[in-house]
Symmetry: D2
Subunit: 342 residues, 4 copies
């Protein structure tokens, strides 16, 4: 029997980009992951039943201080639009698709008096279907496993077809508020966007902070700007944005994040860390440490153009951050429209 | 041909609850709607191309002032969980359903080494399908029509199967921040929850504000607590919550909202206004004025229990409000997890 | 943190109906399942790479003979409608929901000339979202596991979040045609519908066939009528139809199906076999044998009222059967509208 | 406010292909459509309440005769697989997408003993989300409008956000059985596939039938093979298959279909009729006549490779046809896996 369909695209993410070049630090690999996982582990640090990891660094003190950063009353929405023109492509990672909006009631129905209100009233309604990580989003701590374990030592099997019975995004519903800091690496280097494959070192992050006159503090929501998203939008083509090559932090960043006790790290890329991977031994080595070992919250695909322009203009790179997730029970993450408020 | 299915449930919302009793004020009806639509119209007030109505009342001044209300650094998430146990019922309004979460990758797949990472790594992923108004949400200004027109005088036909080509929720992406005020009507009356059908008058809202020691100001996000949601949760049964009878503001509230130049009104009920409707001439008369004529943003199904308890405890009913919508292109609204920050 | 949602309904199917009464044959249980799985195994019978099990009994000879049964040219569609009034309930099995239809383009859009064709033309379009087993459907052989194995000895882990990499319904695309036989047990007993919990014995099936004057042959598609669906439709309430108690075949039926070398067994119930289960040691003991050990195709929720009336009228209980599945790649089954042609 | 998304793709189908060249017959256009709509109208022919149009040509006589065509007992499934590798592209027609399958329960969950059955049993389950016309499908008679009217004179507004309140696909549930005839135009011309833009004339259809030794009769399900789908599959790229250029019947085919009183016309292309359109005055002129005026059932994207090879081998181009739609209440069509049985 001949099945009339196209040949399959590869299942595993990023197969096509494993051929990394000179950028690879040969020390990055399974051993480095194992070492970092051990050294940076936060398992048990906030109790056995902890569900939120490094978000524990944010206390009411930080929230109150963050609010004091609001001076101008200017708000920046960092969510990208949810529609069919998002970054997912047909052959993209993990079978994700762009958000689909369908209407349940329309103004045209109202015009045709199909809603039972005669000519007086009427309404429109709609529904959305989307992978929770198909646009600007948080990863929950149940999103990534290392050696078949989640953050805080749970069996990965607790995340089954019913979702994250532990570490779901719902546990963070009132925890995504604090001090935000933008580290504008592209602007620091005087370019529009870092090249794909460019790895941001810990030293460079510190240099950017230094030049910007901002200090990273415990409980910060750190946003790293590479310019990659803006490059895609300018070109009117996402290309390999979702799952392909990208600039991003180096593997060593897990040590930086740990040292600074940050609450979360976010970027304008699909996966925060540099791609191609710095090793051929596995995919996304940094992910395998920061989520399962550290319980670090990660935000991806942030639209930071407007915020970055404002920070460059007034020289102030710290702000109040408010990025509430949807309360998706057992979710591996949530689409968001996070706010920077200056 | 016999089609083997159950008989249909009625299309029009609330047919079963039109038999309203002594609660009906006979002055509420099509004439009152017409009069209020004329008197309270904001069409053209912020220009012909305005997409956000009363959110224009919130300026950087209000945002900056709102941030100053943060003292304790305490955050309240007001979104209800998105899962199958939401308020929608099989025979409910408009064919809406409770959020459906399906997994795209699981920890059990990882355990069985089905993800191409061997025993080293793994991930989980999921997707959500939901009506945008099936849980805590904003209505966009494209959600309701009066005499086949939207806010600012557009033809309702501009909202078609492709969504709100005008007045979609995406226009509010950076506008849902400001001063929040809780008006705890149930606590004011010394009860757990107002009865279904109880209409909150303008005088009563003012009395609540007075007793609470809070003044309503231009650009406020006003949240009215009836206690209805908490009653349902305590009973472990939503009953007619979605589209049935409820306590809520009287029709006259449109004049109150206009007089105070508020940015938005929200409540812990499905539809903010009292049900059964105060008239038998149409459905939801207050909606027909505040959205199409005034361009008033409306938030529904807010979970306010924790916030209300805190306000009662410290006597402070004002706070910073941050309720960013998802940037749903052409959406009639957005599911949200709005924050109150004190 | 208090999550404002209703308390969960139980995950496992049928928890509420495990309290079976006098109907339980104590011989049914894990031992009986193990014994039948061994005795009735078809593993390897049609080769190691076989994907369709007992459908192999249907050869071109049977198909050609089946066509000869068509005399009157009368067609019966046995699919129930796909819409919101289907059997699934909020607390039903496995999180399934009733089919959701949403429009992508409408006639009202056309009326309002929103489609770019002016007043000349226009179109309507729609999309459907449904569990493949939420209405009349086939189970694929990848649907049920016994001791973590599928039919033909595969590891259950081959059915992951990407679906049935083996034994998916797509393999049956041109195999669901042959001789159909209706066994109208309810009519045999002179009643409208068998009671829930009534177990149909092998002897009774043979008695029904005998009285009807029909012989079961190799490769038959056998349809068992209990009358349960018609009872629900008459009452305009599905009640516990989906996953609750039901009349159906006894566990011993696996031996009957094996002895007759039938291609498939179908019924007008949710799960073919009697519920409550005949044992408290596990759920759906008959399923655990017929799918994993025998590779027997199963059809559920068939609407047989019209067919049964016709058979009773002309006394002919055999017919041509054509029930093509949708070619759902890796599907655990497919919604269908199977045809009986007399 | 800058919305960070790609620029929109055009809404109207086929904008990019309106620049037709020498192929255009200037007589095809709005006048020709009007004339044919009048001459070929079947409104009222089968009563005012008729919902199925030309399917009325199929009576029990035809069904019984069709069954007699089955000689070899060979079955051909003509549905293409429903998965992410279907013909829809990101910029394709009408916002349609390829079928999305998500799992509700998996074998990996079973392996990890997450289903409440211990090590004994387990199951897999899944759901599908797809536009009903995204793969092999029937159009219902509510799918296309002409001058804001449907077949049999209904107002197009009766097809609203709730679907086809008239002329939905559910009305055809037991009518899609009869005599099938393959007209293999590509093979007739001795080529693998007709070129895109090649218009098949009525004379050519008759010539093909003549050469094949088959006569078109009242009530036939006619399947036209162009070879286009096979060309795409061989190239492993759908290209513009969905909504782009294609070979197909000329506008004049509506007269041919009418003269022969066929029940349905099907093809291996996206839209049966030739593209680019034969006129620049509107889109898909043939559709505007055959559905609204004639009530002709149309089947699209049929996979006919195997059937065509068999017909070429044995010289027999007639067969029993069984293509039951899903009983999608109010559907504009249905995905199908239609069968040819020889």
């Amino acid at each position: 029997m001949h099945l009339p369909r196209l040949r399959p695209t590869p299942y595993a993410p990023g197969n096509q980009i494993q051929k990394q070049g000179k950028r690879v630090d040969i020390k990055v690999g399974v051993d480095a992951i194992a070492e970092a996982s051990k050294k940076l582990s936060n398992w048990g640090r906030w109790g056995e039943s902890d569900q939120i990891g490094t978000l524990n660094f944010v206390t009411p003190v930080q929230v109150a201080a963050a609010a004091k950063l609001v001076k101008k009353g200017k708000v920046f929405g960092m969510g990208i639009p949810l529609d069919g023109r998002g970054p997912q492509t047909a052959t993209g990672f993990g079978g994700r698709w762009n958000p689909i909006l369908t209407m349940l009631a329309t103004g045209t129905d109202c015009i045709s008096e199909r809603q039972g209100f005669g000519s007086l009233g009427g309404y429109a309604d709609d529904a959305i279907y989307m992978p929770v990580q198909a646009a600007t989003h948080w990863d929950s701590l149940g999103h990534v496993f290392y050696q078949k374990k989640t953050y805080n030592g749970h069996d990965a099997g607790l995340v089954d077809s019913r979702g994250c019975s532990i570490l779901g995004i719902e546990h963070t519903r009132d925890r995504m508020v604090g001090r935000g800091v933008l580290l504008d690496v592209a602007r620091f280097k005087g370019i529009d966007a870092l090249d794909d494959g460019y790895g941001i070192s810990n030293d460079e992050l510190d240099a950017v902070a230094g030049k910007q006159g901002v200090t990273i503090r415990e409980g910060d929501f750190v946003i790293v700007r590479t310019g990659q998203m803006e490059r895609c939008l300018k070109a009117n083509a996402w290309g390999g944005y979702a799952g392909g090559n990208a600039p991003g932090v180096k593997f060593e960043n897990c040590y930086w994040a740990h040292r600074h006790s940050i609450a979360a790290i976010c970027s304008d890329t699909w996966g925060v860390e540099v791609r191609p991977n710095e090793t051929s031994e596995t995919q996304q080595p940094w992910h395998l440490v920061v989520i399962p070992a550290m319980g670090l919250t990660m935000g991806e695909m942030f639209f930071v153009k407007e915020l970055a322009e404002d920070c460059a203009a007034d020289g102030i790179y710290e702000f109040m951050f408010a990025g509430p997730p949807l309360v998706i029970t057992h979710g591996t993450g949530s689409p968001i429209n996070p706010l920077a408020i200056k």
